[in-house]
């Protein structure tokens, strides 16, 4: 679906992505993971043309992403960021239907799709007319998800969608997301810094460090055949202390 060829990007001399090549398969869930500042969010935003590489190319279905096709690529993708990125001046309903209204969908079609999505994301319909400021973090994240899915996109991109939620809600939403991804059968690219979440949600994990790709594969591969010492340290650091806490 997505293909990055020798892509580099830096901000004011600060390297975000360095000579990175990666292929993201269609119909599967790919998780980008790595420590803060490793370039995983920048990479995700490159897929939508929100950030353009200094060198190298990003292609979508074989076509190089450029100013001419970026608009159509964005319409084929849904994008969710931390805390939803919801517009505070619009209600949940207006946020979700913004693009459909802009594209002049017939009201019946919009309403039907909205009902479908509310059921899919377990968002109760009586809260649709509240503003983001009147909803909790978890609810806002569901609204963000609905907004991303409104146009029934082929691709769903999520940038730390659960990052700002408290652990119990986070756990619950992780389960829901997994079920959702299985149901949708779409290409999903998700950014997280939590290895457990990555392993739970992803078919493939892409581990990044300082703008470079370190290892790509399953968690098991990273445990059994780490590409380098950093992979081992990263995995160890992310493993719960619960085991050792329980043993003592």
């Amino acid at each position: 679906m997505f293909r990055l060829d020798d892509v580099s990007k830096s901000y004011d001399g600060l390297v975000a992505i360095e000579h990175l090549s990666l292929t993201i398969a269609a119909g599967r869930t790919t998780v980008l993971i790595g420590p803060s500042g490793c370039g995983k969010s920048t990479l995700l935003r490159m897929l939508l043309g929100l950030v353009s590489p200094d060198s190298g190319t990003v292609s979508v279905d074989g076509a190089i992403l450029d100013a001419a096709n970026v608009a159509s690529v964005r319409l084929r993708a849904g994008y969710v960021i931390q805390q939803g990125g919801l517009f505070p001046h619009l209600t949940a309903r207006q946020n979700v239907c913004l693009m459909a209204n802009h594209l002049r969908w017939p009201p019946e079609r919009t309403a039907a799709r909205l009902a479908e999505l509310a059921a899919l994301t377990h968002f109760s319909a009586d809260r649709l007319d509240r503003y983001p400021g009147e909803l909790s973090g978890g609810q806002n994240q569901r609204v963000g998800l609905m907004r991303a899915l409104m146009l029934d996109p082929e691709v769903l991109l999520l940038d730390e969608p659960l990052g700002a939620l408290d652990p119990m809600i986070r756990f619950e939403l992780q389960e829901e997301l997994r079920a959702l991804f299985a149901q949708l059968k779409r290409t999903v690219v998700l950014v997280t810094h939590d290895l457990a979440e990555a392993a739970y949600l992803g078919d493939t994990i892409v581990l990044m460090r300082r703008g470079r790709l370190v290892q790509q594969g399953h968690l098991a591969q990273m445990l059994e055949a780490p590409a380098d010492e950093f992979v081992t340290r990263f995995v160890r650091a992310q493993r719960s202390h619960l085991g050792s806490a329980g043993a003592s």
Binding site: L48, I81, M99, H102, G133, S136, G138
Partner: protein
């Protein structure tokens, strides 16, 4: 949006120009009582000849009146020969009335003849002080360097005023300040000042017990009141010239002082005093346009609101796109913000006077000045509102696939609305206050009673302008705060409410 802006701008221009389209004879007067009375006499004379006539009362100082006459904004007014020679034609130095007539003719202006009195400059102080200090002549002042001198603003600046006088007599006083001339009289009466400039026909000389000092070196020129009118008036309206010329030779010095006193001391209106004079000396019956206090208040409110709303509307239509442009193009934006900032720093008075040669007198210059003053708060707040939107929200809008125009309309402008509205509110409140200055160039509004009130020392009249102006400013503030309730998207007003029963 730009088309609406042009439409409104051309409306402004048309409004400024339309005052001159009709065929009425337009009389002007300077902003002091004698000039206004004579203006009313001229209006009465034109009216008696069956001509539609209007009087642009108390327009301003000599330059403004003379330019208005030269540009055809007004058709006639009464000027003083000394002022013409030393102020308007200072470089040409006319030596005789003949020279003066030639210079005026070259500007398309006819000097019709003397009205019949001289109103010379003099210096005056309280008679008791003059006796106590032994001052009878201007040269005596050299021995009293500590005197507090308060002159009318025009006298402070004119070549034939204080600068020339100080040089001619070698006067040593240092505490010299320019004030509104009528205020100078009052501070003299109150003992806050020792000396001021007088006009020899001023009613206040007797009233305040002042003494005019002898000009022993013959510094002050003779100020003979003369009628000036535009040469083309004879073709446009031959009857008007004959009618206006009837003022020549009919008002002598004591008559003028009496008329001044009737307004300034007895508190009658200039129109009434002029009408009585015309009836008594020429047997003319002029219709006196009397206006009650309420009616006058309504007129001033109407004029004031027109100035404020029109200038503000045009400013909004122009400033919003400018603010958007400034936010979109950061480099150009800095220049743009600087430019409208400079517009704000031009003193209101200077701006008004600048505008007179360009758009004439009346509402035009006031509208343009208020428009310029309204730009900064709106442009700056639009820019601030748009650049202050969190980048994550803009990225969300882009990621959704919203094109730039739709992003601006559906996301950016609503989010910036509170800031933009605050800018418009600031502009409106500034405008309500600023519009009072419009009266200086004949735009009317609440400034009119304030100016007239200062001139006539009539506190009630000052309040008649000041109180509604203050109320209007407070009202505008209140109105905009109410409007915020309706105009702002509800989500921006709502407080964050957590629902503990349903955390998800």
């Amino acid at each position: 949006m730009m088309r609406t802006a042009w439409l409104l701008l051309s409306m402004l221009a048309a409004l400024a120009a339309c005052e001159r389209r009709d065929t009425a004879v337009i009389i002007g007067s300077k902003s002091f009582t004698e000039s206004v009375i004579l203006g009313e006499v001229l209006r009465g004379l034109a009216q008696d000849a069956g001509l539609p006539a209007r009087h642009q009362q108390a327009l301003g100082g000599t330059r403004l009146l003379f330019n208005a006459l030269a540009n055809g904004e007004i058709d006639a007014y009464v000027e003083y020969t000394g002022t013409l020679g030393s102020e308007i034609f200072a470089q040409q130095r006319p030596q005789s009335q003949r020279d003066l007539e030639d210079l005026l003719a070259a500007r398309g202006i006819v000097l019709a003849g003397p009205v019949g009195f001289q109103n010379n400059y003099a210096l005056g102080m309280r008679a008791i002080d003059a006796n106590r200090l032994g001052i009878g002549r201007i040269s005596d002042l050299a021995r009293h360097p500590d005197l507090r001198l308060r002159f009318g603003n025009e006298f402070m600046d004119r070549a034939d005023g204080w600068p020339g006088l100080q040089a001619a007599y070698g006067l040593p006083q240092r505490d010299v300040r320019g004030v509104e001339h009528d205020l100078a009289y009052r501070s003299l009466a109150a003992g806050d000042a020792d000396l001021t400039d007088l006009y020899t026909t001023d009613a206040e000389i007797d009233y305040y017990g002042l003494r005019a000092l002898e000009d022993d070196r013959g510094f002050f020129p003779r100020y003979e009141a003369v009628l000036l009118y535009r040469a083309d008036l004879a073709q446009r309206n031959p009857g008007a010239v004959a009618a206006l010329r009837r003022i020549v030779g009919v008002v002598d010095e004591s008559e003028m002082a009496r008329l001044n006193a009737a307004v300034k001391i007895d508190g009658r209106s200039e129109s009434a005093v002029a009408a009585t004079f015309l009836a008594e000396t020429m047997g003319l019956r002029t219709t006196l346009r009397t206006e009650g206090r309420i009616e006058r208040l309504f007129r001033h409110t109407r004029e004031h609101l027109l100035l404020v709303t029109l200038s503000l509307s045009v400013a909004i239509v122009v400033a919003l796109p400018l603010g958007i442009l400034a936010a979109r193009q950061p480099r150009a934006g800095q220049y743009l913000l600087g430019l409208v900032g400079v517009g704000q720093t031009i003193p209101a008075l200077a701006l008004l006077v600048f505008m007179v040669p360009l758009v004439g007198i009346g509402a035009g210059p006031a509208l343009v000045a208020l428009f310029i003053y309204s730009l900064l708060p709106i442009v700056r707040n639009t820019h601030a509102g748009l650049t202050g939107i969190p980048p994550a929200l803009l990225e969300s809008a882009d990621a959704l696939g919203l094109p730039r125009g739709a992003r601006l309309r559906r996301v950016e402008l609503p989010l910036a609305a509170p800031t933009i509205l605050a800018g418009i509110k600031t502009a409106a409140v500034i405008n309500v206050g600023g519009a009072t200055l419009g009266a200086l160039v004949g735009a009317g509004g609440y400034g009119q009673p304030i100016l007239t009130g200062i001139r006539l020392d009539d506190t009630a009249l000052i309040l008649e302008g000041a109180v509604p102006a203050a109320l209007l400013a407070v009202g505008a503030q209140w109105l905009f705060e109410r409007a915020e309730g309706y105009l702002l998207p509800a989500g921006l007003r709502a407080k964050r409410i957590q629902d503990p029963a349903h955390p998800l």
